[in-house]
Symmetry: C2
């Protein structure tokens, strides 16, 4: 079963909180998805968010809900089988996005833990959920690669701070601007990175990055003349469907379809 992660890979994921698997998708597949991403970036929609300049696309959300290559990808064995292995059983997609990180303009994502958002905003009870990221472009040291602190998913006491931008916009939009609603405190980043050196998730286009919902991660500015686009699919256990919350976020941020996914290709 070529799509299955090995015991060694699963052990690496458990220990570090992330795993890079190079060259999973082929060049033509990635190019086609990249073209779809550009079409979505160019389509006016509340799914789109922007950099601080108000013009440069930062991300498009809910890409798995739009018929096309990204929707097909979530039931592709190369993503779904490992996601089921990691989560343990049936999964659905809680959230998806295509981050743009544009050449010479993609701004930072401050250090954060994804689970904080899904827990506090969406009512997700447990971290029985995994991110599968597809590199649409090569990630290098100079184009703002995803940065992770190995093992930070298992460390207790990581402090969340709230920069306090929420009042300025619709609440769900505030979570997605460069000033994230929930970030990890400076002290926690210092403590965690003193124990384990920060790692850049590097790799060619078509590589996959699996990462734990609790791992502390972020990314720097893109100083290169090439985009660094990345599609991220968040697979949640069907036994971990969020409960009711007072102010539900839109479906493209917290999906209402909790049907277990079956491999289709």
């Amino acid at each position: 079963m070529v799509n299955r992660l090995s015991e060694g890979q699963l052990a690496e994921f458990d220990e570090n909180g992330f795993l890079v698997v190079p060259d999973v998708l082929g060049t033509a597949e990635v190019a086609a998805l990249g073209a779809e991403a550009e079409a979505l970036y160019g389509t006016d929609s509340p799914r789109r968010t922007f950099e601080a300049d108000g013009r440069t696309v930062r991300a498009v959300h809910g890409c798995h809900q739009i018929p096309g290559g990204f929707a097909d990808l979530v039931t592709d064995a190369r993503l779904l089988v490992p996601a089921r292995q990691i989560v343990g059983g049936d999964v659905y997609v809680h959230q998806s996005k295509i981050n743009a990180k544009r050449a010479l303009s993609g701004d930072i994502w401050p250090w954060h833990q994804d689970f904080t958002f899904w827990n506090r905003e969406d009512g997700m009870a447990e971290p029985r959920v995994v991110n599968v990221a597809l590199f649409l472009d090569a990630a290098t040291d100079h184009n703002g690669p995803l940065l992770l602190i190995p093992g930070s998913h298992l460390v207790a006491g990581t402090e969340t701070v709230r920069p306090g931008k929420k009042a300025e916009k619709e609440s769900w939009q505030a979570h997605l601007a460069a000033d994230l609603e929930y970030t990890v405190s400076r002290e926690s980043v210092a403590r965690l990175s003193a124990s384990a050196d920060i790692v850049s998730a590097l790799g060619g286009a078509g590589s996959l990055l699996f990462f734990d919902s609790r791992i502390v991660h972020g990314s720097g500015s893109n100083m290169s003349p090439a985009d660094r686009r990345m599609a991220i699919f968040t697979y949640n256990s069907v036994d971990n469907v969020p409960g009711a919350v007072a102010a539900p976020r839109p479906d493209f941020l917290a999906a209402r379809d909790h049907s277990p996914l079956q491999v289709t290709r």
Copy 2:
């Protein structure tokens, strides 16, 4: 003569436009200079500039004009002898600064060429001038190291753009917190970095980086929990003293003392 650059080092500088020499200053020396830098960062003065937040110090200019360790350093053989070798003969300091690049807040410096500023703003005629940078902290892949495009100092036709004038066309420049007056165009960065991979100037505290006034360089955000401070001294040939300009910049940006420097220690 331990302070002299070798023929090999000079050849490397000429070809690449930069040269890193590790571990030139000792730990105690660097710690003392770091403490002086902190005192300057904390002193209200027009020499200080700030990040976009208006309170995080970005740099202090003219540090060689303030009695203390930085003033002493410009006539230290370890900096002055190589500077004289590169420029060819007597030199003085045209400009100096201590960049702060603070932990988790230091913002980017867009791609630029220093000589553009000294030529257009200060009336400096020729690039007979060299930067000597002292790492006050280790420079790593994650704390916004100086990025350089090797060989770019020798390439003709690099296009300078003025973000203030082109904000409507070049959104990446409009959004940058670091609003430099003269930056290198997106097209030129793409062309230059297609011929030579971008290099990060990495090294421990106490290392020196020599770089050409025409080399295309910049730096990304500092995503690490540690500062990445760097003092930069610009040694200009005494035969290349700037002429008169209509609107001279302050002495701490374009020094009026053109006396040739002698090694004092």
